[in-house]
């Protein structure tokens, strides 16, 4: 019962944040002075190759799509209504492609890198951190200094260096893109085998940085737990080490788990920039191109997706924390 209440509260909270995020997403681009559609059509015209009649058509289309002749609150409702239909609008840059189509092409690539990286990085990082804390000595020193270094390197910096050393200098892995020229994405072993070679470098860039951050955090949590009263008490009682270690692990795990929710935004951002470095055809590259073309609908859709991903991740972490941590089930504190 308490748990249900807890989850309900988290859900309500997530929805409030979502509404605020939607309003920001809607309002901020509309702060651009002047009518955005005029500016865009002006740009398309300046690019040449489009006739006057066609321009007028594009102008009409966008005015109608955004309802720019209506008051702001109606525009917002139109925006929400369209989103509910999964309609993100039409791309300015690649007119008349729909934004949903562009996103649909890019999203799987981003997920393919980020999801495994987050899971692998979290598991391996925590194991490494715990191991370093328990073993001590040289294992600890090596693991710690290494982790500290990797956790403070900007992800894209690591990506650039990896790309240069492994792909360009040593020529072991392909330099960029997601699959070889002439291949088409399909569900076959050949394609998969080909795509994996392109997948490794962006994956490792993200995973190494994440392992570093997690290991540093887990190590200090575990070291901190090692000095706590219950460990001393256990030792005094002569409890087996393995059992104490289990207690320590459970206690140190929890902050690490909530930390995952906190660091997810940074991780997603880092992953998007890494895609740029490798010209991996995911959301990061799409965002980069959209920014270059002032393609507001695409930019807005991607920022919305990032927000959604972060909110969903945080909500999931909150709910799972509720199941894992008995203290949350016991206490009903409203603090996040």
């Amino acid at each position: 019962m308490v748990l249900a209440k807890y989850i309900g509260r988290k859900l309500a909270w997530t929805l409030v944040v979502l509404v605020v995020a939607l309003m920001l997403n809607f309002l901020l681009p509309r702060l651009i002075p002047g009518n955005p559609v005029d500016a865009i059509v002006g740009q398309i015209a300046a690019g040449g190759g489009t006739g006057g009649e066609q321009l007028e058509q594009i102008h009409e289309h966008f005015m109608q799509e955004f309802g720019l002749d209506k008051p702001l609150w109606q525009q917002f409702l139109i925006y929400i209504g369209n989103l509910l239909h999964g309609d993100f609008g039409t791309s300015f840059g690649q007119y008349p492609a729909s934004v949903s189509h562009l996103i649909g092409q890019a999203l799987p690539w981003s997920i393919a890198i980020q999801l495994p990286a987050i899971i692998v990085g979290w598991v391996v990082g925590n194991m490494l951190g715990a191991l370093a804390a328990f073993k001590g000595g040289w294992v600890d020193r090596g693991a710690f200094v290494g982790s500290l270094f990797f956790s403070s390197v900007p992800p894209f910096a690591l990506a650039i260096i990896l790309l240069f050393v492994v792909a360009v200098q040593m020529g072991i892995l392909p330099v960029g893109g997601a699959y070889s020229f002439g291949m088409t994405p399909e569900l076959s072993v050949t394609f998969f085998g080909d795509a994996v070679t392109y997948f490794w470098l962006p994956f490792w860039s993200l995973v190494l940085v994440f392992i570093g951050g997690q290991a540093v955090g887990m190590r200090s949590m575990a070291v901190y737990e090692l000095g706590s009263d219950y460990v001393n008490y256990n030792r005094g009682l002569g409890v087996r080490d393995a059992m104490t270690v289990r207690y320590i692990f459970r206690n140190a795990m929890l902050p690490q788990f909530t930390g995952l929710g906190l660091s997810i935004a940074a991780l997603i951002t880092g992953g998007l920039i890494i895609e740029l470095v490798f010209s991996y055809p995911g959301l990061g590259t799409l965002l980069f191109n959209a920014i270059g073309q002032n393609d507001y609908p695409v930019i807005q859709a991607i920022t919305l997706l990032i927000t959604l991903a972060v909110l969903i991740a945080n909500f999931t972490v909150d709910v799972l924390t509720g199941f894992i941590d008995p203290r949350i089930r016991a206490a009903q504190s409203g603090e996040r």
Binding site: V20, R141, Y224, A266, I268, I299, T303
Partner: protein, 320 residues
């Protein structure tokens, strides 16, 4: 606090930060080359000496000159944004935590919503909408989206200070609201604020380079991020022109690493309890646990300490 008591890590990080600041402040006068002047061809190899020490970039400009000016830009953006974020966070946290009541509720709600929405999203949306981007608007935008962490941590501390007796004494002696905040509450948080500022600066520098790489960098200045943007856009990595992208990459890494190290050593300096706890812990743990071998630079414990201060920025990464 005597200078001798400072951990070696502090001196190493201080030296690194000093070196970076020197490169940014004095560097331009030593290099004496306009970063926008064309001094060679496309990706000329580095050669001795002077402006060509690091070769040229895609526009034939001196990479060395761009590097020192870029470091300067990145530091300016970082310091400005860090200052803005720290000041706003400090004010919101102090007022909310000390006042309590509905003001606190409102400020806490704003802080929590701000924490839940990824800062990068807001920054991208605002930067895209800005008609003109320069380093000051960039710093402002980054600062305005980064203060939430500071506000939350400061609030937690100031609301605990609020119930202490010396506050009652100050109130009885007729001290005003702001005077109590500044003279009786703030001193308890000052060490935290300094550390938060250092973290904010490193976070802001990373944010700036991230934005620049997306093509949202300052329009009128070279930064380390814009250098990387051009290096990647012109395929310097692919063609093996390492001098175009290795210097800014290393410089960024160095800046972030130095600032994180500085923060962790400051934490130890400001928080003597941590030091004693550490010594006690070392005795208490199993023989296998953290050894008592001589300290290596950049060694243990920096991060957990911040974690205890309730800073979610413990690894400096979550900020972004």
């Amino acid at each position: 606090m005597s200078l001798r008591g400072l951990p070696p890590r502090f001196w190493v990080s201080a030296a690194l930060v000093g070196f970076i600041v020197l490169a940014a402040v004095i560097g331009p006068f030593i290099v004496q080359t306009d970063p926008n002047a064309t001094v060679g061809g496309l990706y000329d190899r580095p050669r001795c000496c002077g402006a060509m020490l690091l070769g040229t970039d895609n526009e034939g400009q001196s990479v060395l000159a761009n590097l020192v000016y870029g470091t300067r830009t990145s530091l300016i953006v970082g310091l400005l944004a860090g200052a803005i974020a720290t000041v706003i966070g400090l004010l919101v946290g102090l007022v909310g935590g000390y006042r309590g009541g509905w003001i606190d509720d409102v400020l806490t709600a704003i802080t929590n919503v701000g924490l839940a929405i990824p800062a990068i999203v807001v920054i991208i949306l605002v930067s895209v909408s800005l008609p003109k981007r320069n380093i000051y608007t960039l710093a402002l935008v980054i600062g305005l989206t980064a203060w939430f962490w500071v506000a939350r941590a400061v609030r937690a501390q100031s609301s605990s200070v609020r119930t202490r007796e010396h506050i009652d004494v100050a109130r009885l002696s007729g001290a005003g609201f702001w005077s109590i905040l500044a003279r009786d509450v703030l001193p308890y948080l000052l060490s935290y604020v300094v550390m938060a500022f250092v973290l904010q600066v490193s976070g802001a520098i990373l944010f700036e380079s991230t934005l620049s790489m997306l093509g949202l960098g300052p329009g009128n200045a070279t930064s380390l991020g814009t250098m990387l943007y051009w290096a990647i856009a012109w395929g310097s990595v692919r063609t093996g022109a390492w001098w175009a992208f290795v210097p800014p990459t290393l410089m960024l890494t160095l800046i972030v690493f130095a600032l994180l190290l500085l923060q962790s050593s400051l934490n130890e300096v400001f928080n003597p309890r941590l030091r004693r706890g550490r010594a006690a812990r070392k005795k208490a743990v199993t023989p296998g646990a953290p050894s008592e071998a001589p300290l290596v630079v950049g060694e243990p414990e920096p991060v957990g300490a911040v974690g205890m201060l309730e800073t979610p920025t413990s690894t400096g990464r979550e900020q972004r």
